[in-house]
Symmetry: C2
Subunit: 505 residues, 2 copies
């Protein structure tokens, strides 16, 4: 193994990708495990990423006619049982509230008291409780569509957890809509997947495949699940958002019925769609390097950090004043309908230590200002994505800050797309398929394979075998305007189109 | 009893205030009870009020140096037990998670399975779990202050619930800060109370008393609780926000220790402060009238609703086009750093029905536009707070919209302040005190009394007796620059200053 260059993060991606991820999250101070099993603490830097995601998505939801509301955290057990597949999907991993009080027992120990008549489940998702309300609200076709989104916490009692990617409690949004016709509900399902894809590419700078899940990977109770799938730098797939066409399954389970324009009593057609704090993990794994986080400017907690060089006491006041003026100039720049977020780090720390902290936190642009720079009215600018550094006249920097940020954003997307394309292979035989997903190098066991585009005849027994052999699954049946038919590489039978295979999170 | 004028809400405030409140909430479509005991569904119109409150408060928190983060929903039982008063305050009403799975039993019924080693409490407040994290994060005085806020849901198993005012689950923010010195923590406690008071008066148009709680009304575990108290239209007090100085109690319970600048190991000083969706109830009860909600413009879900008069088919297109142009003009107006929220209601409903829906929803300004108005380039404007109606030239309306909204905002505050002052009485004898809080008119049993400013010597046995006799408590010991000493009206003993007494929510 070649001697690695010195990096801010140990180990590097190629040495140990899962551990690299944990270290990037730690070094950027995004989140950490809490003493409550499986529950994370989202620290301010990580939470700000989530807040910026929320703001951008919320605007898109509102632009597409949705409003926010809030439904109960608890779901009565009997509600979960109304949809057979749904309860099967979630019963195995749910937090059950059984008591409403703690009381001292005879031994002086505080124990659960006042048992509930019916246990309550901490929501793993809200189709059933929201369906119950929609059944009350919807009487006539005039009450449709119902287009509601909820920002909330949910709990799924996962055994193996990983910060952001899989946690027992996570934050998410869940859209729940009800429509008068199947066609409208299908349109909504596709539209919201499009919103997610647009957000992933244009805000997260994370290219995605859009497509449909196979039956085995569907949301419990859905007729069809659409998804966006992104490639991480270990070439595994991350399911980054899902949009479910629920048909009339949940409407029947909850009794969402309406009088149609023709006067008939019909069941509504419903959808649900969601993205979660998992996206923060996806953002980290798409862009970060061996020096830590790289935040795409559209979602970066800070756009610019200003680092005053405060070595000499006599120039201290002048340098700080110059920095404050610069910050005000930058803060007044509007970029994509937002004011820029700019911070001056004037802590008493060694310049190098300070700089590396901001490198690890992924701030797109770092600006160092010392007495000599001020003399030339110039700044020493460091760009996080490319590592480029050099002097830029202050006026030019302020005038072009928006373009610089756009360029960084575009570069990150281009880079991620090139990486994904490089590791996406058209595969035409079972042997090539097995080779593709089998590590060649025992020293780098984690990084190999990628996305395989291969024909498959739809037989679920094949996918089960492939999952057992290789831990590889069909990530999606991609949307294609002109799907090209072919021959299943596993069975030799006809296939309608190539599907996307990968290992996944 | 006089024959009441016809009103949109039945009963009126004077007939049955609690029921009037429920009906206003229902008519404005703000929230409703869910099938989960004590948990409400916050509907889109109510949630938008909360979102606007969140945005305004969040900005104020950030302006005062705070950042947001997120901590686990669950608190291990042993954490709650660390602070003796704290656990006593919350153990009686908490949701206890005891299992992590549902499983079919022998009778084919789904029952809780996989019991947890230690029960988890759904957070009623987060001092203990956040304290645990701060103990890890804080090592040195350089790590202080920690200034973090969390937006979250919390659960307190209340037996008697009321939409927004008291619900088992509610949404809130909880600030949690840690400081190196007692003085700093006190400053923070007072500063955040000031933020709440400013928000209440300038956004909610709800005047408040600021002061300190008596020992009996303190937050469990706090050294001191500061609060803002508002008067509702039934003259009862609503505690609208609290800011707690926690001293070193929670730092000791959680072990938040740091190396001081002098090298000594010391416990941090902590604070916590919160407001909740209860504020939505307070807003409703402060301003609404017998025709429904009146939303203060700074928080109104919509500032202006445009009601096209679409009776004649031949003018329909022209009227709608005019309305859309008007909406665009208004939407481009900036008012207090926000764009205006403007909606065109073009539903096929009778004009009167439509108008009354918006009256009940409390939109500050309604604008009717018909062909005859268009001919004069004029609008028919209705103002929700005063009921004034009349024609206004379009250009003038657009040019003065900001001033109109400011005027409405100011009028609501003035009106609420006048009401509060009218029903705030200086009381100098026990007899007058009992008279003040005893209903005179059996037909209007609910609305009487108000705020009594009376001297009290601080004896908690007095407050217990008063609470039993009259259901009246000390709402706060108000902040006074020059507190005027006097004689306790109950004991004849010396009193440092007058305190605020009232019935309360």
């Amino acid at each position: 193994m070649a001697k690695p260059a010195r990096t801010a993060i140990t180990p590097t991606r190629s040495q140990d990708y899962p551990e690299w991820y944990q270290q990037v999250v730690r070094a950027a101070d995004l989140a950490e495990n809490s003493p409550v099993r499986g529950c994370m603490v989202i620290k301010p830097w990580g939470y700000t990423l989530w807040e910026k995601m929320q703001r951008a998505l919320d605007e898109k939801f509102k632009d597409t006619g949705h409003v926010n509301a809030y439904f109960p955290l608890f779901i009565p057990k009997s509600y979960l049982e109304k949809e057979a597949q749904h309860v099967e999907g979630f019963a195995k991993e749910c937090a059950v509230v059984t008591h409403s009080r703690l009381e001292l027992n005879d031994e002086g120990k505080l124990v659960p008291a006042a048992p509930l008549e019916e246990p309550l489940i901490v929501r793993p998702t809200s189709e059933t409780i929201i369906g119950e309300m929609y059944a009350k609200w919807v009487q006539s076709y005039r009450d449709l569509p119902v287009l509601i989104n909820q920002w909330a916490n949910v709990v799924r009692w996962e055994m193996r957890t990983r910060l952001f990617l899989r946690t027992a409690e996570f934050l998410w949004q869940e859209g729940h809509t009800a429509h008068a016709t199947e066609a409208e509900a299908w349109e909504e399902t596709r539209k919201m997947l499009g919103v997610y894809a647009d957000f992933a590419e244009n805000y997260m700078a994370m290219p995605v495949w859009q497509g449909e899940k196979t039956a085995g990977e569907r949301f419990p109770g859905a007729v069809s699940t659409l998804c966006i799938e992104a490639m991480m730098q270990d070439r595994k797939a991350l399911q980054a958002g899902t949009s479910h066409f629920l048909g009339q399954n949940f409407a029947k389970a909850s009794g969402i019925q309406f009088q149609s324009e023709q006067g008939q009593l019909e069941y509504a057609w419903t959808t649900s769609w969601g993205v979660s704090t998992r996206l923060v993990g996806g953002l980290v794994m798409t862009h970060s390097d061996d020096d830590g986080l790289i935040a795409p400017p559209r979602l970066a907690p800070l756009h610019v950090v200003i680092l005053p060089v405060l070595i000499k006491e006599e120039s201290r006041a002048e340098v700080l004043e110059y920095c404050h003026k610069l910050r005000e100039e930058l803060r007044n720049v509007w970029w994509h309908d937002q004011k820029l977020d700019v911070h001056i780090d004037d802590r008493d720390l060694r310049g190098g230590d300070k700089m590396w902290q901001w490198v690890k936190k992924g701030v797109p642009l770092r600006v160092e200002v010392g007495p000599r720079d001020i003399a030339k009215d110039s700044l020493f600018v460091g760009r996080r994505d490319t590592g480029e550094k050099g002097p830029v006249p202050r006026a030019e920097f302020v005038a072009t800050i928006g373009e610089r940020l756009d360029e960084i954003q575009q570069n990150l997307l281009n880079r991620a797309r090139a990486f994904r394309d490089e590791h996406t292979h058209v595969i035409n035989s079972e042997q090539d398929f097995y080779d593709f997903f089998t590590p060649k190098n025992q020293e780098e066991p984690e990084i190999h394979g990628g996305f395989a585009l291969a024909h498959w005849n739809g037989d679920e027994s094949i996918t089960e075998r492939i999952q057992q052999d290789l831990k590889v699954t069909v990530r999606c049946i991609p949307f294609e305007d002109n799907p090209e038919p072919g021959t299943c590489i596993f069975t030799g039978q006809p296939s309608k189109q190539r599907v996307v295979w990968a290992k996944s999170y």
